[in-house]
């Protein structure tokens, strides 16, 4: 025992030596950006001339800017796909949680979109969404539409096309999360319920869903944050067009900050998104606590 305490004392400096490189990088690339970024949003910073304090001007500007407000509205619309993707992912996980021959092949197939580079996703779905592309052909053949739709060129539907791609990319990831959780539910619980005469529906709502609750919470928070931060799909599919209909708040932030080099303005926009993210994450943590523990 004596010896263990001895080790304990010696560990102090050593532990920090082990931790130092990681902590240094985290401070430099995770904390510093937030602190320095917060300061910069109150200035007219640019890389080429002296900086002046401008107070809340940047925030005033973006909240009077139609493009940012459109982006904010679209980002909130993105939140609509969140419940869909969670429900879809849970159902999919239940569907693949069997021992049917070949099920591993299907699990892998659903995960393939997840590991695909987003730039490739953009190019591939560009083909799919083309007015003379495959998607329109299939829908025409099924008589679901009468004329080809301009998936990415019609400002009324382009945003939904992008949402669909987000969903397509994300579904497999959440499926695997839920699958892992499903497989950790003891089989005895389901068996006991079957003996008690519970049907499939009752077992799903009374056993599966409550047992999945911690995972549902984690996944919901993650997908809410991902929805608010929607950027990549917009960038590779439409770049905010047609007629600014697919601008998201974060896309606006990057466009201002990186393309137009209005860094403080872009930062202000991304801070608004970030505050939204933190707020929603905290709300989820507060109200989505598992009720059975």
């Amino acid at each position: 025992m004596n010896q263990v305490i001895n080790f304990g004392r010696r560990h102090g400096l050593l532990a920090y030596l082990f931790l130092a490189p990681a902590l240094l990088l985290l401070v430099l690339f995770s904390f510093w950006p937030v602190l320095f970024g917060a300061y910069l949003t109150m200035t007219d910073f640019s890389l080429v001339r002296p900086t002046h304090w401008v107070g809340l001007d940047n925030y005033r500007y973006i909240f009077n800017n139609d493009m940012f407000l459109t982006g904010l509205k679209n980002s909130v619309l993105f939140l609509l796909i969140v419940p869909c993707i969670q429900l879809g992912a849970i159902s999919l996980a239940v569907l693949v949680n069997t021992q049917l021959p070949g099920i591993k092949f299907f699990r892998a197939a659903y995960y393939v979109p997840v590991v695909t580079t987003v730039s490739v996703v953009g190019i591939m779905w560009g083909f799919m969404f083309h007015e003379l592309g495959t998607l329109n052909y299939i829908l025409l053949q099924l008589h679901l539409i009468n004329t080809p739709l301009g998936w990415l060129s019609d400002d009324a539907i382009a945003l939904f096309a992008i949402m669909f791609v987000s969903l397509w990319r994300g579904l497999g990831w959440y499926m695997v999360m839920y699958l892992a959780a499903l497989q950790s539910i003891p089989a005895e619980m389901q068996e006991a319920a079957i003996l008690d005469g519970a049907n499939l529906w009752q077992r799903f709502w009374k056993i599966t869903v409550p047992m999945l609750f911690p995972t549902i919470m984690v996944c919901t928070i993650m997908s809410v944050l991902a929805a608010l931060k929607a950027y990549q799909e917009v960038d590779v599919l439409t770049q905010g067009g047609p007629m600014n209909s697919t601008f998201t708040a974060l896309y606006y932030a990057y466009e201002q900050g990186l393309k137009h080099l209005k860094l403080p303005r872009g930062l202000a926009a991304s801070f608004v998104v970030s505050l939204g993210c933190i707020g929603i994450a905290l709300l989820c943590l507060r109200y989505l606590k598992p009720r059975h523990r």
């Binding site: 931790l19 990681a22 320095f36 590991v115 892992a180 932030a253």
Partner: protein
Amino acid sequence: MKKFSYHRLPRTLFQYAILLGLAALCVFPFWWTLVVAVSTQGNIFAFPPSFLPQAVSLDNFIEVFRVIPMLAFYKNSLFITVSTVCWKLLLCALAAYPLSRMRFTGSKLVFGVILATMILPSEVNFLVNFITMTKIGLVNTYTGVILPNLVTAVSILLLKQAFDEVPQDLIDAARVDGANELRIFWNIVLPLIRPWLATVAILTAVEAWNDYIWPSLVISKPEDFPLSAGILYLRGTYGSSTRVIAAGTILTVAPILLAFLFTQRFFMRGMDGAVK
């Protein structure tokens, strides 16, 4: 878990129908891109489209190598991916070890600080990190591309869990034998968590290979781009030759899909760890 049985054949068939439909939805864009890439004839956007390739040839793939520096892109991507993986494993394992195995003042605080980075939205970082890179002169270097991605809370957490599972007796025995902490870490504990290191390595490799926003910010010369950014450059520059773009797309995504098919179980394990 249901077992396969012939009594439930209709239901099983129904299940397969749904499974197949969804799989088609997930895989079809890849198939279609491949069809476009290997065909040299026929209208790409013909109605009705032919879902099987016509007049198969590899000309479009050769064309990709001719019009863009594809080999350089591969090399750049490979370099970025390999260095990110190696350094990340080292730094995150080093950080996870004391959090799991040492008692020291401030350990709770340090752990909290690391966890906090998971909630801090990383979206703000790009803009300021770009300024930081400009100031410290790492713009247009791969160090600049790699550095911000080396340490993530998720990797530290996964490795900490792995270290937690190593039996204390082993470590105590080594200490009694007079091994120092670095030696215990490197020669005893690290080899024991090899499967978890593999998981973190695979997840990191996919992320690093696919990353395109940050590299295309830091790197300005197109021939220094990694593949993920280079392929968009191909689309931007040769927007009209759809078949060549399709071929380039297949060449970009093929390595990562092959890697995924051979290492699937590591992805699943990563998820296991993420949920706990």
